[in-house]
C-alpha cells in the first residue's frame, strides 16, 4: 500500500484578536485509496488542515511533510514551501488534487460543462466522454449547458464534485461538502461520490459535521483534541486517529 501523505510535527499558528490558535498534527500517514474523515466542531482547524493538505497554505513548522504522487515521486512539500517554489506546488495541485468547498466553488460566468472541463483544460487533456459519464453518475446531465446561478444548492455541489474529479486526480479533498444541504440530499450525494471514488481508487479526505453518518460509512476518522495553553492565550487543536 503506497503512502500518499506523510506528516510529522506539522504546526500552523494564527493570531485572531489577541488569542493564538495553534493546529498541531504530530503524526499522520495516509495510504492510497483510504477514506478519511476529520471530526471536530466548527472553528477547530479542520479547514486549515485541509488547506495544508491541498498545498494552498504553508505550515509554520514541519519535521516532515511529504506527498507521494502517481508518477512514483515523493515530493518534499515543506522544502518546496521554504524555497518558495510556488509554481511547482501549483503544478502538483493541478495534477493530483481535487477540492470541493462547502459552497460557491463554481465560476458563475462559465456553464456547468465549462466549469467541469476547466481542470482538464488546464492539463491540456483531450476531450473524451468522461465529463458526460461523470455527469450522468452525479445526475446533472441535464444541467450541463446552464449557468450555475440557475441550479439548486444540491445540484451545484454535485457539479463541484464533478469538477473536482474530472481530471482523475489521485486525491479528493472535501471541506464540509454537504453542510449547506438538507440531510436527505446530503446522504444521496455522498453515497454516489463514495461509489465513484471506490471505482477510481481515489484517496478521500473530508471534514464533516454529520458525525453519525460518518461512523455509519465506516471511514477512518481523525479526531480533534483541544487544549488551552499558555494561561489561556493559545488554543491548541491536535489531530490524531
Amino acid at each position: 500500500m503506497s503512502i500518499i501523505y506523510s506528516l510529522k510535527n506539522v504546526v500552523k499558528e494564527r493570531m485572531i484578536e489577541n488569542v493564538g490558535f495553534r493546529l498541531l498534527v504530530p503524526n499522520l500517514e495516509i495510504s492510497k485509496g483510504e477514506n478519511i474523515a476529520l471530526i471536530g466542531h466548527s472553528g477547530c482547524g479542520k479547514s486549515t488542515l485541509l488547506d495544508m493538505l491541498a498545498l494552498i497554505l504553508h505550515p509554520d513548522q514541519a519535521k516532515q511533510f511529504s506527498l507521494g504522487t502517481n508518477d512514483g515521486e515523493t515530493n518534499n512539500i515543506e522544502q518546496l514551501w521554504q524555497k518558495k517554489k510556488h509554481d511547482q506546488l501549483s503544478e502538483i495541485r493541478r495534477l493530483n488534487i481535487g477540492y470541493v468547498m462547502q459552497s460557491g466553488g463554481l465560476l458563475p460566468y462559465l456553464t456547468v460543462r465549462e466549469n467541469i472541463e476547466l481542470p482538464r483544460r488546464l492539463l491540456k487533456l483531450a476531450d473524451d466522454d468522461s465529463i458526460n459519464s461523470i455527469s450522468k453518475v452525479l445526475g446533472i446531465q441535464r444541467q450541463l449547458d446552464k449557468l450555475p446561478g440557475l441550479l439548486s444548492a444540491g445540484e451545484r455541489q454535485r457539479v463541484a464534485f464533478a469538477r473536482a474529479l474530472s481530471h482523475r486526480p489521485s486525491i479528493l479533498l472535501a471541506d464540509e461538502p454537504t453542510a449547506a444541504l438538507d440531510p436527505i440530499t446530503a446522504r444521496k450525494i455522498m453515497a454516489v461520490v463514495m461509489e465513484l471514488i471506490k471505482g477510481l481508487k481515489i484517496t478521500l479526505i473530508t471534514s464533516s459535521h454529520d458525525w453519525a453518518h460518518v461512523y455509519k460509512m465506516d471511514l477512518r476518522t481523525l479526531h480533534q483534541e483541544a487544549s488551552v495553553l499558555e494561561n489561556g492565550r493559545v488554543y491548541q487543536s491536535l489531530f490524531r486517529d
Partner: protein, 403 residues
C-alpha cells in the same frame, strides 16, 4: 501557454457576464475621453482654419524687399532653386513699368501698372495660362472693368519716351488671355511676360528692341541687374527662414510675420490649455479605473482563489484585472469615438453655419484617433497595476472562505 489562453478566455467571460458593471466602466471612460476629443477637435479645426486662411492668401507668404538693390539673373535663378521658395520673379524699375491701355469698348486710356508673371505665380494660380511672348496680357479685375474688356479681346497698348529730344510713342496690340480674380488686387494691373517688361524698360531707357521694331541704342548690355523681385515662400512656416537668410545676405525685407506669429502663438497656447485639461482628465480617470479594478479584485477574491486552488499560477492570475482593464480601454475608446463623431457632425453642420464660420470647425485626423487609443491603453494598463498587485497578494486559503 495554455494557462495564458485560459486566463484570457476566463477574464473575457467574466467581463461579459458582468456586462452591466463592465458597461459602467466603459461609459465612465467614454465620458472622460469624448469631451477631450471634442475639445481637441475644436482646437485643431479652428487652428487649421486659421492657418489655411493665411496660407490661401498668397500675400501672407510674400516677402518684399525694402528699397532697391542689385539682383543678377544668376542670383534670382539660384534663389529660385531653394526648397522654401515657391515663386520668385524679378521686378524692373517701378517708373518704367507702366503702360497705357485702350480698348475699343471703353473710351478712355488707362494707365496701368505692369507686373511680370510666369508659370507658378501664386497670385494667378486659378487661371489656366500665363502670358507668353510680347503680345499676351492678363488684366486685373479692376482694369478689365475700367476697360470694359473681356477674355479674348484685343486692346491697344502704348508706351511713350523722350528720345534724342523728341517725344516718341509706340503701340502694340495685346490679347487679353485671362482676367484675374478681384481678390488678387484692387489696382489696375497688367500681368505680362517678363520679356515684355524688359522690352518696355529698354525702350524707356532709349535702347533698341529689335524684336518689336523699336529703334534706339544698340549697345551691348553688361549683365542685367534687377532692382527688386517678387518672392513667395512655400508655406508660412518657411517665411521666417527665408527672411533670416535674406537678412544674412544684407537684404532688408518685409513680410507678414506678425499675423503668422499670432496664429502660431494661438496654436501653442490652445495646445498648452488642452494638454493641461487632458492630463488632469487622464490622471483622474486612471485613478478612478485603478480604484475600481482594485475593488473588483477584492470583490472577486473568492473566484480568483478558486483559480489558484485549481492550479493557476499566481503570475497568471495577476493578468485577470489587466485583461479586463484593456477591454474597458478598447470599448471605452470605441464608444468615445462614436460620441465624438456625432458631435463633430452636429457642430460642423449646425453650429458653424450659424456663427458664419468654416464648416471644418471641429476636425480630427485619423492619426489623432490612434494616438487617443494608444494613450487610453497605456492609462488602462497602468491603472491595472493596482489591481494586479492586489491579485498577487491573494492567499487562496483566506480568499476561499467568506469570513
Amino acid at each position: 501557454m495554455s494557462q495564458l489562453n485560459n486566463i484570457l478566455r476566463l477574464s473575457f467571460r467574466d467581463y461579459s457576464h458582468e456586462w452591466r458593471m463592465s458597461g459602467c466602466f466603459v461609459f465612465a471612460l467614454a465620458s472622460v475621453l469624448a469631451p477631450m476629443m471634442i475639445l481637441f477637435g475644436l482646437k485643431f479645426g479652428i487652428v487649421s482654419s486659421m492657418i489655411s486662411g493665411l496660407v490661401e492668401n498668397p500675400v501672407n507668404r510674400e516677402i518684399r524687399p525694402i528699397g532697391s538693390g542689385h539682383y543678377s539673373e544668376q542670383w534670382v535663378e539660384q534663389f529660385r532653386s531653394r526648397p522654401e521658395v515657391e515663386f520668385i520673379i524679378p521686378k524692373t524699375r517701378a517708373l518704367a513699368a507702366t503702360i497705357q491701355l485702350k480698348s475699343k469698348t471703353a473710351n478712355h486710356i488707362l494707365s496701368t501698372e505692369m507686373m511680370a508673371t510666369a508659370l507658378g505665380d501664386p497670385l494667378l494660380k486659378e487661371l489656366s495660362s500665363v502670358p507668353k511672348g510680347y503680345f499676351e496680357v492678363i488684366l486685373s479685375k479692376e482694369a478689365s472693368i475700367k476697360l470694359k474688356a473681356k477674355k479674348g479681346q484685343s486692346i491697344d497698348a502704348s508706351l511713350a519716351r523722350q528720345f534724342q529730344g523728341k517725344r516718341e510713342r509706340v503701340h502694340l496690340t495685346l490679347t487679353v488671355i485671362e482676367i484675374a480674380e478681384a481678390a488678387v488686387s484692387s489696382r489696375n494691373i497688367a500681368f505680362v511676360n517678363l520679356d515684355l517688361l524688359l522690352a518696355t524698360e529698354q525702350f524707356k531707357d532709349g535702347r533698341a528692341v529689335p524684336e518689336l521694331g523699336w529703334l534706339g541704342d544698340t549697345e551691348k548690355f553688361e549683365e542685367r541687374q534687377y532692382p527688386s523681385f517678387r518672392l513667395y515662400a512655400k508655406s508660412i512656416y518657411d517665411v521666417n527662414h527665408l527672411v533670416t537668410d535674406l537678412e544674412k545676405q544684407g537684404i532688408r525685407v518685409k513680410a507678414n510675420t506678425a499675423e503668422i506669429y499670432t496664429v502660431q502663438s494661438i496654436d501653442q497656447n490652445l495646445s498648452v490649455i488642452f494638454w493641461i485639461i487632458a492630463c488632469v482628465g487622464a490622471v483622474g480617470f486612471a485613478f478612478s479605473l485603478g480604484a475600481s479594478l482594485w475593488a473588483n479584485v477584492d470583490r472577486k477574491k473568492k473566484e480568483l482563489s478558486i483559480l489558484r486552488l485549481l492550479g493557476f499560477k499566481s503570475s497568471r492570475v495577476v493578468l485577470f484585472p489587466l485583461v479586463q482593464s484593456c477591454l474597458t480601454g478598447l470599448l471605452g475608446w470605441l464608444c468615445a469615438v462614436l460620441i465624438y463623431l456625432v458631435f463633430e457632425q452636429l457642430i460642423n453642420r449646425f453650429l458653424a453655419p450659424r456663427l458664419n464660420l468654416d464648416q471644418t470647425l471641429c476636425f480630427l485626423l485619423s492619426e489623432h484617433f490612434f494616438w487617443a487609443l494608444g494613450l487610453t491603453m497605456v492609462t488602462a494598463i497602468l491603472a491595472a497595476i493596482l489591481g494586479g498587485f492586489r491579485a498577487a497578494k491573494i492567499e487562496p486559503s483566506d480568499g476561499l472562505r467568506e469570513i
